[in-house]
Subunit: 341 residues, 4 copies
């Protein structure tokens, strides 16, 4: 049964596998200080035009999130996040396990608003509550939505005015930056945030997130944290090689764009058939609202997640495409919807 | 310059790469619940003859250590380890970062003795000190030594008598079990400890350690910890595939034996040339004591670590072989020693 | 200016001071193992008819909360609490600092409902979220309300059915148990919960909360935690002496009843004058809704907290009475209201 | 049986009790922001001639230690301490429980030496080990010894050169500063360290340590930590009143001097009788080496701790005097030694 359940079902893009094979018997330095990792760092530094950015690779998103948050906050400080944010809903208390409270505030289709951040700051303003010191956002969000340049700039300005670090979880940053409605560049992301990461795992790599720290006073000793949290791989070059392949030329963006295009075809047909969406689709995750009996039938041919009821007759499902989604599988999905609607 | 500095300089054994390639476009379940991981689990369960062993894969040794220790201990409990143990000397305080003290006791060539454990228990016996509840050993040790069946049985018996969990760090377990002086089987390891792990990273895998929990009351909810500490990979099948390849037939043991044999050749020549060793060599790490000028010359042709001075004229170095060490490189190294001694 | 802002403005009840003076030059054992602490333990064990209850004294409520929660939960486990609960709103992230998430659920006038607990269990039911393992309630609550025997029994039954520990924060337990609407005894509290504490600080002691653990498997090694968290006083007898004085005869209940009676007089007059309350008053904290200009005038003669606006013209304030509140000060307050309404 | 086992067997100096009684029915602000605490702060700031010192009161030494260390260190940083230091031997892993390793180095009669600190820095110098960032010393030490001005200056200079915070545990600072061999003033302590505390619990108070932070960049938000760790008492004025009494005039120093004088009389007699000491006595804790049969006889009339064997016939014991030790009890003790030697 074909799965639209996630963007991490397949292995790695063939070019990545080739690079791994080609370098397999090289002797490389350990712990991420090898030439592949350094080359990947240089590619990324070039794109964001910041030769001093601190870049470290880690194996997954939860690890990246807990590393960044626990490295930069003092014990009494907290991070503001949308109540739909991955750190709040999907990481088994990873952030709290490092001692920090997540101040959850209402989100708008997965996005954090200025009003919500200000509300968090208002309530958490005395020494009897943890002190907000960081804002966490994800782009694209857990509902597939993306931030516009205006929105991210406004959040960035508020954070700088209030002395808050701005941290962007980019597990699906490729998909965000190649969204049809996106107007942000990777350089904008670097300029407007203090730290962010570029997700490889969900965009063609076997595993790997590139954490990019642009704010000078946060760079110090970050590698100690990597080591302490078990995030520094002996064969760190495995991460370096993958990001080298992704950023040597345009592969990272090509793969993300492919995933978005695949989702877009499905979106268009579903709209044509009159279905609504939980949030306006614009990246590789779409959330159509479908009749329950259609969902039942769909589940006999495809794998996907059902998120919850909308009313007695219909529910929201999540369909996810990836770098590996074939036109053939999209055609089958579209065919299913046309036939059964 | 050829490196004998570590056993994690190269990528993965070609058969592993082949398996990765073969399964690359399969759609697999996420988070380690895929068929490859399950097959690997079954292979290992078969070898240790324990169909109920809880087995989870993680990406590295520090991660495995902090997961096991923080999962099983209550906040006031501590782990007894040799003062040369990896968790005490080489993990940037990873264990303490989870809240637990390491009670370090004197080691004998990297091995923990009954006397040392008892000494730890004696000193840490009141409520003003943390309560010892676990014993940590590594096999092979940080000095390349291995435990005999008699030694491990004695430690196991003491632990069971005193109500201590016994945890064996097997980052280099392959090398230990194929040592010329080894008399332990993998099944013995499983029987005598409560939890241990089988190192893939240093024995032919890109990354991966298989944590094996045999004691029933420690199995519960271990996956929650994996997720919380950022150790559960989205594409967990990457670890499963590698262990599948290592344990489907005898590859794991063959690779380790190869590494040992390579080291043995060097050992024999060094002994023949009259050099002493810091600890009697028996695995893939050897620690010869060499004249400083010979070390200097050696460093012009090979990479390796110098551990420290023995006297004014000589020092201990570490030479490490691996699954990837070629006979050719060993011949060159041996040639060097013969020529320069 | 007379303060109705808190029940911890004054020192200790004179009888407590007398006991301190009387025993001042005695030589007592340290760390809470003295005869006064033991006598206090025996008094409490007698009242709850549980000779095996584990009882330890600590200096304050936040300390008691973090001790209990961090002692009993494993790293991946969380505590369910009302979103108005003291641990969620008023302890600077003390619980999260020990690594545990608080699952906050909607409260009803400060009380937790079965529905809210079940809602928490429903959402937190997979390994991608922390595992609920404890329910935290406070009695009287942060809004001065109290649990009935039926309510507490229902929560207790649900907890036992679901394998959740039930923890009752009794910082104001005296006030709850002497409320005019209370139908619970201290023994009931002990029977229906797994652990609770009896607040001294807000009921006549200088400082001190008596943590009572009734569930056998939670008793082990609790004193290690006390010591580790800096909660074990060298002169632990200072806490023992105070609880000895409070429980030797009925003083603990007399003081709480006095505080309640003082508040009741104010409540009656405010009701007579037509004012509403944020929650039906029944203990030593009352929350009247008053016109803003009356609040302004009141603040010129008395100290108290204003909690927030109800509409454009009125706000909720908190008035707190204590063992030390005099009839004279109540008369003045009542006089103020009569004169200005 | 009279006890020389500790300096925390009795309650509080009568003047402190008087102050408590006098202010008992005052209404004071909570959480340490009352006038008594502020007055005590001003007295201490005056003595150390630092009007900007941040001063917070806490209830005990372990609490003070864990607060200071966890507040100032980042997650990967460690504290260097003597292997006899209270935080290493006597606090049930309180520091590790906040995530930080204690780098224990050899001590000289309880004192830390420059050589030992440098040795710690040498070994802990790479990213595979925690990063030393603080030095912890206690004065007087756990063996009753005291630092000279020259010694403390040398340590302070080394710390400043190496970028290490210097933290002085002054649980027995009174005894140190009134030692016959002391040449340090309280102002010297403040000038030479970054943070220290003044112990009340072991010098006449019921409970209380005054934490004094002199280094500007460590002052920020310290009260958040106090609250989070359960160290901020509702009735914080209880601590303020006691320090007010101790520092309003010379009481703090008088009480410590009394304790020292009492110990000195015992020392003189023991020396006269030919006994040796484990460390040269100079404060209120003395460690004579006595024949085992004499120790046995002594234990029938007095309480004290035996630390360990020196040889087959003799052991070290600890005798502690305090502000409450009477001349009569010293006379009895001296009488015992004269009669039995």
């Amino acid at each position: 049964m074909y799965s639209f359940a996630s963007d991490y079902s397949e292995g790695a893009h063939p070019r990545i596998l080739d690079y791994m094979k080609k370098s397999n018997l090289e002797q490389n330095a350990g712990y991420g200080s090898d030439i592949h990792s350094n080359r990947a760092r240089d590619y990324i530094r070039g794109i964001i035009a910041d030769p001093n950015a601190e870049i470290q690779f880690t194996s997954g998103g939860t690890q990246a999130n807990l590393l960044v948050i626990s490295s930069f906050l003092r014990p009494h400080q907290a991070v503001i996040a949308a109540d739909t944010g991955h750190i709040f809903t999907n990481e088994t208390g990873a952030i709290e396990a490092t001692g920090h409270k997540i101040i959850s505030v209402p989100s708008k289709e997965g996005k954090l608003t200025l009003e919500a951040i200000k509300q968090g700051l208002d309530i958490y303003s005395t020494e009897t509550r943890p002190q907000p010191k960081m804002v966490y956002i994800s782009n694209s969000t857990e509902f597939g939505t993306v931030y516009t340049k205006a929105e991210l700039t406004a959040i960035s300005n508020l954070c700088r005015e209030k002395g808050l670090y701005l941290f962007l979880d980019g597990a699906r940053l490729g998909s965000a930056l190649t969204s049809r409605i996106n107007d942000l560049s990777l350089k904008d992301i670097a300029d407007l945030t203090d730290v962010f990461y570029i997700g490889g795992t969900k965009n063609g790599a076997y595993l790997g997130e590139a954490i990019v720290i642009t704010r000078d006073d946060l760079k110090e000793d970050f590698r100690y944290l990597l080591k302490q949290k078990g995030a520094m791989l002996s064969k760190g070059f495995l991460l370096g090689i993958q990001f080298e392949a992704l950023f040597e030329d345009n592969l990272f963006f090509e793969l993300a764009e492919h995933a978005n295009k695949m989702a877009e075809q499905v979106t268009e047909v579903l709209k044509e058939l009159g279905y609504k969406f939980f949030a306006e689709p614009c990246s590789n995750q779409i959330f159509p609202i479908l009749p329950n009996d259609l969902i039942k039938k769909l589940s006999e041919e495809f794998a996907f997640y059902t998120l919850g009821k909308v009313d007695d007759n219909s529910s929201v499902i999540r369909l996810v495409t990836s770098w590996a989604t074939s036109q053939e599988s999209i055609d089958k999905l579209i065919g299913f919807f046309r036939k059964n609607s």
